[in-house]
């Protein structure tokens, strides 16, 4: 009997974590589903039940689609850079640079990842500044005046500029993850390939790429779900503008909730984000489970 009692008492160990998790993470997410079925704002006394109307609104809202599209573009560009470019970078670092310098380079490349997106965002909005920003000055210096833009001020370039900043910030972070993956490849594989006469490019595609597949999968998942949760970058650099051209789901949610005062609609957008990230999470679980069986 006393052992049962002791077992129950041991719940006290997980209680603080569990309570915080249930109250501040799980409950709000479930409550969001309920709230998305009502029409209400911060001041409304009684929300009115409208069923799926908020979702219908989203469906007919062109800016919602712009936002979803921007998130998708963000995901695709990030995939190419974070997976393709970072992997090449990591392989270069690990198989090409000597020990000493390797550590220094790794450190340098990682630095942008430790500064806040606000700092990076404001810094880049200075770089993108049409009159004095370095991007335009650089283009002017090499005679490409025709390429100059008011980068964050034009609908056609705003989103791209934000995405570019984000790549600057996260490439080192992803590269470090790939470095860890590469370090787990047994040395013999590369040595054997070398003996077989495979050059560095051949070794990259035949040894490195297949051997870091798990890390690649993980990075793909992290990158894609990150791209659908983007908020800070856009908020700091354009707040969704000009004329909503750089709106993403996160900022469109924020705008509707706290500026347009349409909490119900904002909750519906939140649900869409939830469903997308949940789907990505489900893929992750399936993939990691398969991996565990393989081991």
């Amino acid at each position: 009997m006393s052992t049962t009692l002791m077992r129950w008492r041991s719940l006290a160990w997980v209680l603080p974590a569990l309570v915080l998790l249930l109250v501040f993470v799980y409950y709000p997410i479930v409550d969001n589903l309920r709230l998305s079925l009502f029409s209400w704002n911060a001041f409304s006394v009684a929300p009115t039940f409208v069923g799926l109307d908020n979702y219908r609104t989203a469906f007919h809202d062109p800016i919602f689609w712009t936002a979803l599209w921007n998130n998708t573009v963000f995901a695709v560009v990030s995939l190419v850079f974070q997976v393709g470019f970072s992997l090449v970078l990591a392989a270069l670092l690990e198989e090409f640079v000597h020990q000493r310098l390797r550590g220094i380079l790794r450190t340098i490349y990682f630095i942008p990842a430790v500064i806040s997106i606000t700092v990076a965002g404001i810094l880049f909005s200075f770089l993108y500044n049409p009159e004095i920003g370095l991007v335009n000055r650089l283009l002017g210096a090499v005679g490409l005046e025709s390429w100059q833009h008011s980068w964050l001020g034009e609908p056609s370039t705003a989103m791209g500029s934000i995405i570019a900043m984000s790549q600057w910030q996260s490439i080192g972070y992803t590269a470090i993850l790939f470095v860890v993956g590469i370090q787990r490849i047994p040395k013999e594989f590369h040595e054997a390939a070398k003996v077989d006469g495979a050059g560095p490019i051949r070794r990259f595609f035949s040894v490195t790429v297949p051997m870091v597949r798990e890390m690649t999968t993980l990075i793909i998942i992290l990158t894609v779900s990150g791209a659908f949760l983007v908020f800070n970058e856009v908020m700091v650099m354009t707040a969704g503008g000009p004329s909503d051209s750089s709106q993403v789901l996160g900022t469109w949610l924020y705008r509707n909730a706290f500026l347009n005062d349409d909490m119900g609609y904002a909750s519906a957008i939140a649900t869409v984000i939830f469903v997308i990230t949940l789907a990505i999470g489900a893929v992750q679980i399936v993939v990691s489970r398969r991996r565990r069986i393989q081991w």
């Binding site: 041991s10 603080p16 974590a17 997410i29 670092l93 090409f96 806040s116 051997m211 909730a257």
Partner: protein, 312 residues
């Protein structure tokens, strides 16, 4: 995402079916002199391209940051007239002006919220990790599942209900709002990180302590926690990085200007001091520097936490 070895050394693992080396044949019969020379030339060109790429990236990464630091010492005219170069003289006054424009206030707020959330997050996470690893907590599996699920839930989705919830709890627009949320949302990751480390501590260690008359609580404080020091440092550093840079919650749940943390405060400042570039750069430098320094000091612990938490 869970599991195994606390040591930072990468463990060579498993043989995959695609053992690539075997597939490649060594067919290199007598290569002619000219092709060999061509190959050597190609290799050299490739090395050059490799170095060039790495160097370019160093410039691309460091230049904006150095530009930020240099510009923070310039005068406004200098920023416009000479944006590329070094500052003519070091105008430390820019930092003073940034400080009084709010940065000091934001800085203090960030320090408070960050350190409080490090304490609570690491403590509660280590606590629950111990319970899950060593004591047979009822529904341990289900609780672990809840934690795992928590890893996937995004702050943005919870934003609107939290807005009401924090108001009902009377902690909206206070440090507590941020401390509580930074703790709750980071408990899953931190618990998994610490748990993976604790699993590898042999059970005999705390069993011996209990045999010597320690309660589990005493064993936790006196034996297990000290042994977990390396991973606790990693967890604390990653929490510092998270809390120092967090933006969404700080934007939505703090409305009083004096309570704002750096990420949101800087954005505020940007719209207030639109034309005073050097002061803004000074503010950015002050916000970025602590994390860069912390990272440079605790690099190994940083990366250990990152890769243990993610890669296994």
């Amino acid at each position: 995402m869970s599991a195994s070895s606390p040591t930072p050394t990468p463990t060579p693992t498993r043989q995959t079916k695609a053992s690539p080396t075997l597939a490649m044949t060594a067919n290199t019969p007598a290569v002619g002199r000219s092709t060999r020379a061509a190959r050597r030339f190609g290799a050299r060109a490739m090395r050059l391209a490799g170095w060039l790429g790495l160097a370019l990236l160093v410039v691309a990464v460091l230049y904006p940051l150095l530009w930020m630091v240099f510009s923070s010492f310039k005068s406004n005219q200098e920023v416009f007239a000479n944006p590329w170069g070094l500052p003519g003289k070091l105008r430390w006054g820019n930092f003073g002006r940034a400080g009084s424009a709010g940065v000091v206030r934001y800085f203090v707020n960030s320090v408070l919220v960050t350190s409080a959330s490090i304490l609570t997050t690491v403590l509660f996470s280590a606590w629950s990790a111990y319970g899950l690893v060593r004591l047979r907590v009822p529904f341990g599996g289900a609780i672990l599942g809840l934690l795992l699920g928590g890893l996937m839930l995004a702050p943005t989705v919870a934003l609107i209900p939290l807005f009401g919830l924090l108001q009902q709890l009377h902690i909206y627009d206070s440090y507590w709002a941020l401390i509580v949320l930074y703790t709750a949302f980071r408990i899953p990751f931190t618990t998994f990180l610490i748990r993976a480390y604790m699993i590898d501590i042999p059970p005999e260690v705390d069993e011996a302590a209990t045999l010597d008359g320690c309660s589990p609580t005493q064993a936790f404080w006196q034996v297990i926690l000290p042994m977990c020091r390396p991973i606790l440092v990693s967890a604390a550093l990653l929490q510092a990085l998270f809390a120092w840079n967090e933006f969404v919650f700080a934007l939505v749940f703090i409305s009083t200007g004096d309570l704002k943390t750096l990420p949101v405060g800087l954005m505020d400042m940007q719209s207030r001091l639109l034309t005073d570039w050097p002061v803004q750069f000074a503010g950015l430098t002050m916000a970025a520097l602590p994390m860069i320094v912390l990272f440079l000091i605790g690099q190994r612990q940083f990366l250990r936490g990152l890769t243990d938490g993610i890669g296994k």
